[in-house]
């Protein structure tokens, strides 16, 4: 096998079609990866990235057609027997999936997972070797020996992904495929995971295919990049080149979207009156049932800030820092222990019943998962009109009119085409537009977006952000954008609050935070945040 030493993966004109589909999911794809090379595969969702990973290790569902040339370490995986294929999957290719929880056995501890893999592939070794190898692997990915006996559900998302990486590299494969390995993690953890994966691949001299929709992430960790769309590769080259002067249309589109997502830093706003003022807000959850033995979890502790009309304020922090509790508390979904929440100079914590209901109309929220936040049995039109009917603000026919207007406003045109559809018939981006329209129905003054972008791919994120910006200037909305991505917040917001441990640790104008982070946690967030080359260069200056 002379060529296989250099080319670990060779794909020529690969075509894949799923059994129930008429379309080729992969259509004439060419790709070559040399040993030890790191290649990022980027593209919008539905472009066939994950199908390619499945095709390489022949994990396609039965009945799918797979044509063309596919050579993995000089062998065609399609010609192998099931036994040989199993060997190939562990020893030549290691896989890291997006959501590790679903790929781990809930009844096996961390150590058992690794022992199981090692025993299956290296039956000739003895007991002591297995245990030594397991310990060294877990140490390598940064899992301490005190966690070896933990079960998957006891681990955080980051830890689970570390275990998945340990499993993938357990047999020193010559190719590691990471399919959106950090999408479900927050930026700081994602950065750690990626740097570990990166250094492990260097150490083992493994090639890496990183599948992602995040251009900045791809550019940061891989020297080569291939842009995929509609089942084939449109452009391939060095990451830097692709991120500065893309040649293909899809490349330009993606880069434009990624830039739109990072946005341009806005200058501080000229003075406008305060719409929302929060003083010493405390949200504590009691941990014990006994009233005389209280132990409090201080999810939000002594937080004070204010938001002006037409201003967007970003709330940034690692997961578990209390930012979600903050917006749930503001929306009245989570109990407040003390403090003042003034909405248009009226303390809503003193209000009850109908007046509270009326006050709350001026503050609305857009949730993280657009599909889950809409009633599956309600049409889009009904969902958007519902707030009006709840508050008795309009008759049915009037509500319908308002709904159409709103749907047009959020870019779902013509509204007649969408209003009678059900949520599952729309895409994630369209659904998030519907959720925004619904939040706007009551003409709020403050819009809270709780990680409203994190479930969408980057192109859609850019679209939603520009929609929010548009609505903000048109309606004078104050927007509270909760996110863990500093790059998004700094591009979209005027001011940024950094949360840690339920408290605000830093507050500064958005254009300063990337260049001069003060608090330690902010510095680590800025460090972790992948940036596109042009912005990154600015940062270094």
């Amino acid at each position: 096998m002379p060529t296989s030493l250099e080319q670990i993966l060779q794909i020529k004109n690969l075509r894949v079609r799923y059994s129930n589909s008429h379309r080729w999911t992969l259509d004439g794809l060419n790709l070559q990866i040399a040993a030890g090379e790191r290649m990022a595969l980027v593209g919008p969702s539905g472009c066939g990235k994950s199908t390619l990973a499945k095709a390489i290790i022949q994990l396609l569902p039965s009945g799918s057609a797979c044509e063309g040339e596919l050579l993995l370490a000089g062998q065609d995986p399609r010609s192998l027997s099931p036994n040989e294929l199993r060997t190939l999957r562990g020893q030549i290719v290691g896989l890291v999936f997006q959501d590790p929880m679903t790929r781990l056995n809930p009844l096996m501890t961390i150590r058992e997972h690794l022992l199981d893999t090692l025993r299956a592939h290296r039956p000739e070794k003895n007991h002591v070797w297995y245990h030594q190898r397991t310990a060294s692997l877990l140490e390598k990915v940064g899992i301490g020996s005190n966690r070896f006996a933990a079960y998957p559900h006891e681990l955080s998302g980051g830890m689970r992904q570390r275990l998945a990486i340990a499993l993938a590299i357990a047999l020193k494969p010559s190719l590691v495929i990471a399919d959106e390995p950090t999408t479900s993690l927050d930026v700081a953890i994602a950065n750690q995971i990626m740097s570990e994966l990166h250094s492990l691949c260097t150490e083992l001299k493994s090639a890496l295919i990183l599948i992602t929709h995040d251009l900045a992430l791809a550019g940061r960790w891989c020297e080569r990049m291939a842009i995929m769309d509609r089942g084939c590769i449109h452009e391939e080259g060095s990451s830097f080149e692709l991120l500065t002067i893309p040649k293909s249309n899809i490349g330009k589109r993606l880069l434009h979207a990624a830039k739109g997502r990072e946005g341009k830093s806005k200058l501080g706003r000229s003075y406008s009156p305060i719409v929302l003022e929060i003083e010493n807000l405390r949200c504590w959850h009691s941990q014990s049932d006994l009233p005389w033995k209280q132990k409090w979890i201080k999810a939000v502790n002594d937080v004070s800030f204010s938001v002006h009309y037409g201003e967007s304020v970003g709330v940034v922090g690692a997961s578990g820092c209390g930012k979600s509790t903050l917006c749930r508390a503001l929306m009245g979904l989570s109990p407040i222990r003390g403090g003042v929440v003034k909405l248009e100079s009226q303390n809503i914590l003193n209000l009850h019943g109908r007046s509270l209901k009326r006050a709350r109309q001026r503050m609305q929220m857009v949730f993280q998962d657009p599909l889950a936040s809409l009633n599956p049995k309600m049409t889009i039109g009904e969902a958007v009109a519902d707030p009006l009917i709840i508050h008795n603000l309009a008759t049915k026919s009037k509500a319908k009119e308002v709904t159409r207007e709103l749907l047009n406003q959020v870019g779902l045109r013509p509204a007649e085409r969408y209003e009678n559809r059900f949520p599952h018939e729309l895409s994630g981006g369209q659904l998030q537009r519907v959720a925004i329209a619904r939040a706007l129905t009551l003409k709020p003054k403050v819009l809270i977006c709780d990680e409203s972008l994190s479930m969408l791919d980057s192109e859609i994120q850019a679209e939603i952000l520009s929609l929010l910006g548009e609505l903000q200037t048109k309606l004078g909305l104050a927007i509270l954008l909760i996110t863990h991505e500093l790059s998004v917040a700094s591009g979209f917001c005027h001011r940024i609050l950094v949360f840690d441990n339920g408290q605000i640790v830093e507050e500064s104008p958005a254009n300063q935070i990337l260049h001069a982070p003060k608090a330690k946690i902010t510095q680590s967030l800025v460090q972790a945040c992948p940036m596109l080359p042009s912005t990154a260069r600015q940062k270094n200056v």
Partner: protein, 273 residues
């Protein structure tokens, strides 16, 4: 066509025939084409099937054919009434219990589970005995048996759906509890109810027959399959088969049709979901 589809089709067709017969028989009886179901004085006793009496006559000389046909209408009435009542109580109670949770939920679950532990026939026999005879009385006796089933299914479903984000989103829009229950939870919870209705209907036909067989439930002058079977039992050893066969067959076919319908519906709903 899949098996479940075929079952649903057959179930629907047979059920439709029963419905048609139940509607047409009283008309035919009142116009005099069919004899009165309770008139037997002029007829011979235990006459075998003939052209004059298609299914023969029973111990009192009554026409078995007319009684069997009338019986289908009676059975459908009672079962319809009983299940509507069960739905009327079981579904809202289940939704409220599942949505509110806490002490209300615990008390309701305790009551319903206690009812659930009692054998169906025993419970309905006791209730039928206490309530006396009559179509509404029999329906109430049956309804109490089925309320806990609807309660359970709906309550568990509600408790599950309640935790979804869209309920929280509705709360954040300012929706009241009653609005959330009727607009958000109801439509997501009721999808499992139709299957339960058809399967319970099959069961209810049998329980009603059991009550009639034991001499409870409906008044004596209402033609009913269970009581007819009881009367026929004594004559079966002497070779008089027609008095037992026709009501028995009618009951069997109706239960079969409803079960088929339920199974088919279940497969269809799980496919839609």
């Amino acid at each position: 066509m899949s098996l479940s589809n075929r079952m649903a089709c057959w179930g629907l067709v047979i059920f439709g025939i029963y419905l048609f017969l139940a509607l047409i028989t009283p008309v035919l009886v009142s116009t005099g084409i069919f004899p009165q179901p309770n008139a037997g004085i002029d007829n011979p006793i235990y006459a075998p099937p003939s052209l004059e009496h298609l299914c023969g006559t029973d111990r009192l000389g009554r026409d078995v054919c007319v009684r069997t046909l009338q019986g289908s209408g009676v059975a459908l009435q009672v079962v319809f009434l009983a299940l509507s009542l069960a739905l009327l109580f079981g579904v809202p109670l289940g939704m409220i219990s599942g949505y509110l949770g806490g002490i209300v939920d615990r008390i309701l679950v305790l009551i319903m589970d206690t009812l659930y532990t009692l054998p169906v026939l025993l419970l309905s026999v006791v209730l039928a005995f206490l309530l006396g005879r009559g179509i509404p009385n029999a329906a109430v006796a049956l309804c109490v048996v089925y309320v806990p089933q609807y309660f359970r299914v709906v309550r568990n479903q509600t408790a599950q759906v309640k935790a979804e984000t869209f309920v929280e989103a509705a709360q954040s829009l300012g929706a009241s509890s009653s609005w959330i229950l009727s607009k958000y939870l109801f439509r997501n919870v009721v999808s499992s109810v139709p299957v339960l209705i058809t399967l319970n209907a099959a069961d209810a036909v049998l329980v009603l027959g059991g009550l009639g067989f034991l001499g409870l439930g409906l008044p004596e002058n209402v033609p009913e399959w269970g009581s007819d079977l009881h009367l026929a039992l004594a004559a079966v050893p002497t070779g008089i088969w027609w008095t037992a066969l026709y009501p028995g067959l009618a009951m069997f076919t109706m239960v079969l049709a409803l079960s088929f319908l339920g199974e088919g519906l279940e497969a269809w709903i799980s496919k839609v979901d």
